[in-house]
Amino acid sequence: MFQRHKAALLLGLTSFLCLAFLSWSADRVVRSLQTAFHYLWAPSTHVLVGSLDHAGRFSARLGQLLRADQRARQFESRWLQERLDTARLRVLEEENKKWSDLYHLPSHPNFRPVAGRVWGRDAADWFHSVLVRPGEPVSVGDAVITVDNNRPVVIGQVRDVNPDGTVRVLLLTDSFSALSAKVDRTGELGLIEGRGSGLLMNYLFADSGIRAGDEVVTAGLGGVYPPNLLVGRVSDVLEASGSLSKRALVRPAARLGTVREVLILACLPPLVP
């Protein structure tokens, strides 16, 4: 009898208990029971959620570790490649020196970069020069460059050294500014002159293949600028009919209005072989 109606008795018991809980829900005993029930199961939730949080943090850190390991491998690979390149360059340098000695060629000029900060601008000379405070003493005529889009680009040249330690840098765009340059794509030489807001590349041969978009870089002649520093890009080619030469308008690569930090390339005496 009892076995047959065990389920019904169980239901009766649970129903009785639930009805008792509901009827005396305001009673201290029932409230204590509810609180006890709550606190009996609350830790399991905290333990579970805490474990999940720990697992999440562990996974995130593992991910960071793996990414760091990957970066370390990349750096190691680059470091090895650079060591190989350095060794190769050393061999080439020695070979070059041997040939230069054989033909008695003068050495290339050597440059020492000096960092500087743009200190001010003269209202009377706003578009033509900037005042720079270099970290070390520099000389008149030293080249001034900056880095734009991870490429060294030419800004101008030191014109005056002031008694307060600042130097006046004559910008490329000034009409008194000039530097020897070449078209990077074709290797043709010319002279870059300042034209106010832009530059003009002069003395190109009439059959020159220069075209709009070509990059113009320093030629490295004269020992003021090292070769292959970006000067600007050709915006237009001027061809006069019957003329023996071509000219090109060049847009400066450096944003001269926003330059804040510069490198001054102090010219050192050539390396003695």
Partner: protein, 167 residues
């Protein structure tokens, strides 16, 4: 008997763990399937009336302790649902999709009505009805996941090789 008690305790614990994990992932502010109710129905539909009634009682009280309903409301309703499912299990085939859905939808609606009635009867200041829209969404969600829950509980019970007559 001992095996049966272990089964009962493990099912109860696993249900709480699952519910905790579920609410860790899904916010409690949105309608979700009533996993405890579905578990109780699945066990009841297998003919395990006593197990379903007992688990319904304890799972329901756990929900009451953490939820907004008066302590005992869901405990009683889930126990009733387990007993009801166990009683009607003789007349239906729990492996059939149609039987599972019928049982689930009926029980979900009955529990929703039951919660309202018990709140009105026993609570001085009811927190307010969730609205029939929420009940409809919950019924739909229960109906969607019911076959999976029934299948899981069937496999879980099979693992223990428990005779139904002792359950």
């Amino acid at each position: 008997m001992k095996k049966h008690l272990i089964f009962l305790a493990l099912t109860f614990g696993s249900g709480l763990v699952f519910q905790s994990l579920f609410f860790y992932i899904v916010p409690t502010s949105v309608p979700t399937p009533q996993w405890f109710l579905l578990g109780v129905l699945a066990l009841g539909a297998q003919g395990r009336t006593k197990t379903a009634t007992t688990l319904g009682f304890f799972w329901g009280l756990a929900q009451d302790a953490f939820g907004v309903t008066a302590f005992g409301t869901q405990g009683w309703l889930f126990a009733l649902a387990g007993y009801g499912a166990g009683t009607v299990s003789k007349y239906l085939n729990a492996d059939k999709w149609g039987a599972q859905e019928t049982l689930t939808i009926t029980a979900t609606l009955a529990v929703a009505v039951g919660v309202q009635v018990l709140s009105a009867l026993f609570v001085d200041a009811p927190v307010g009805s969730p609205g029939w829209g929420v009940v409809a969404v919950q019924t739909l969600l229960n109906g969607l996941v019911a076959p999976a829950v029934f299948w899981v509980f069937s496999r879980w019970a099979d693992l223990w090789v428990l005779p139904v007559k002792n359950a």
